[in-house]
């Protein structure tokens, strides 16, 4: 089975759906392949307070439902499925979803990033047994129990605040002596009575694999090297994300950290392939910047298809 398209968008977070909205309004009839983590990271969050236009905030999943409906209203086709491979060496490009092959003249990569694990090996073994990267999914299981959150950024603080309503005690473990999280999130976390902080500590082991559940964490002080142990029933990991770029290895240029390289707006190393959102952004990583870059990618794809996308950035912006 083969279906030729003008534009295929891989991914359905804020970047992918905004690209779909703009591409649909440009009459490109985009096909969005939503991916296994459909809706992206916002599907796992609660209240989003920094999406412009919602003064009281909006729930992450509700925002994604709206974005999706908006893209569909203008003719974007959104299908379930997870891309298994891509062939970008010839145009039209081929995108394979299991045994179905889709082809397109232009491709927008918006595959985002997924939660990073601790890389201890043991954390994956105890996944679903007390180790989690999603407080809104798994917090339920820790009602009335002590838990830990690893990390010092906004994700970690959001998890800690969410869990403080369920768990008896939330201990935030951070390897530095100050948080990276925004001031608003820091203030919220510091003022929550059952959230406490362990500074300059990193997790070196999670017990107990033999029992098949989390019983405690072994910590090492990053300054003194001294080891300690803390008893918890659950540990939530909020130490950042890794870009979902495995599909494109050897086909699109990447930075050393795995993020896609872009230039002149949203262009990747292959003409006709554009990238948007967290898959190419290791600096800002916000829903609104993802959406903005999704818009850029759709406009770049449209110009590429009409032959008006020029190699020099100056020339391209002169058309703007």
């Amino acid at each position: 089975m083969s279906t030729e398209r003008q534009v295929i968008i891989i991914g359905s977070g804020p970047a992918g759906l905004t690209a779909a909205l703009y591409a649909a309004r440009a009459n490109l009839k985009p096909l969005v392949i939503e991916g296994i983590e459909a809706g992206g990271q916002l599907m796992l969050t609660t209240m989003v307070e920094n999406w412009p236009g919602y003064r009281d905030g909006i729930m992450g999943p509700d925002l994604m439902t709206e974005l999706r409906a908006q893209a569909e209203r203008f003719g974007a086709e959104i299908i379930q499925g997870d891309v298994s491979s891509v062939e970008l060496s010839t145009r039209p490009f081929t995108v394979n979803v299991d045994k179905t092959h889709y082809t397109a003249q232009a491709l927008i990569v918006a595959t985002g990033a997924s939660a990073k694990w601790l890389d201890l090996g043991v954390d994956k073994k105890l996944s679903g047994r007390g180790v989690s990267t999603c407080a809104t999914c798994d917090g339920f299981f820790f009602k009335g129990l002590p838990v830990a959150v690893v990390g010092g950024g906004d994700t970690a603080m959001e998890e800690a605040i969410y869990l403080s309503k369920l768990a008896t005690k939330v201990t935030v473990i951070h390897r530095r002596d100050e948080l990276r999280a925004s001031k608003v999130m820091q203030d919220k976390a510091f003022s929550t009575p059952n959230i406490s902080f362990l500074w300059n500590k990193e997790v070196v082991d999670i017990k107990d694999v033999d029992q098949g559940k989390v019983t405690s964490l072994v910590l090492r002080d990053t300054q003194t090297g001294e080891k300690s142990e803390i008893d918890v029933d659950g540990v939530f990991i909020g130490i950042g994300h890794v870009p979902n770029t495995a599909l494109f290895k050897g086909q699109l240029a990447m930075h050393d950290n795995g993020y896609l390289k872009t230039h002149g707006g949203s262009r990747t190393s292959v003409p006709g392939v554009f990238a948007a959102g967290d898959v190419q952004d290791h600096v800002y990583r916000q829903a609104v910047t993802a959406a903005g870059s999704g818009c850029m990618a759709a406009i770049d794809a449209e110009r590429f298809l009409s032959g008006t996308l020029h190699e020099s950035h100056q020339t391209a912006s002169a058309h703007g």
């Binding site: 296994i36 983590e37 459909a38 809706g39 599907m43 796992l44 999943p61 379930q80 997870d82 298994s84 299991d98 996944s127 679903g128 047994r129 007390g130 989690s132 999603c134 809104t136 999914c137 798994d138 339920f140 299981f141 820790f142 098949g212 559940k213 989390v214 659950g234």
Partner: protein, 107 residues
């Protein structure tokens, strides 16, 4: 909501229901976003393996005992039983291809 090939198990009937044949059980909750993503895949598995594989769902809000018995502490979790014995525990989202590979080992 779920396909008609998918059964609903509860704390009351769980033990009896997994006794015979190959049974795949999806632990989920209404508030779990990844569970909603997995649901259509589970429906498709039920349809494709109809007759060879029993597929069921357990709502963990309404049935707290069964998840605790199998130490389920994260959802979605899929448990695969063969003649009453727990054979596979699959935590988190997986693609249909990957799930089919795991199921195939036991059919």
């Amino acid at each position: 909501m779920a396909s008609e090939n998918v059964k609903v198990f509860t704390d009351a009937n769980f033990g009896d229901e997994v006794k015979n044949g190959v049974v795949l059980v999806d632990f989920w909750a209404t508030w779990c976003a990844p569970c909603r993503r997995l649901a259509p895949i589970v429906d498709q598995l039920a349809e494709e393996h109809n007759g060879k594989l029993t597929v069921a769902k357990v709502d963990i809000d309404e049935n707290p005992m069964t998840p605790s018995r199998f130490m389920v502490r994260g959802i979605p979790t899929l448990l695969l039983f063969k003649n009453g014995d727990l054979k596979e525990t699959i935590v988190g989202l997986e693609t249909k291809d990957r799930l089919n590979q795991i199921i195939a080992k036991h059919l």
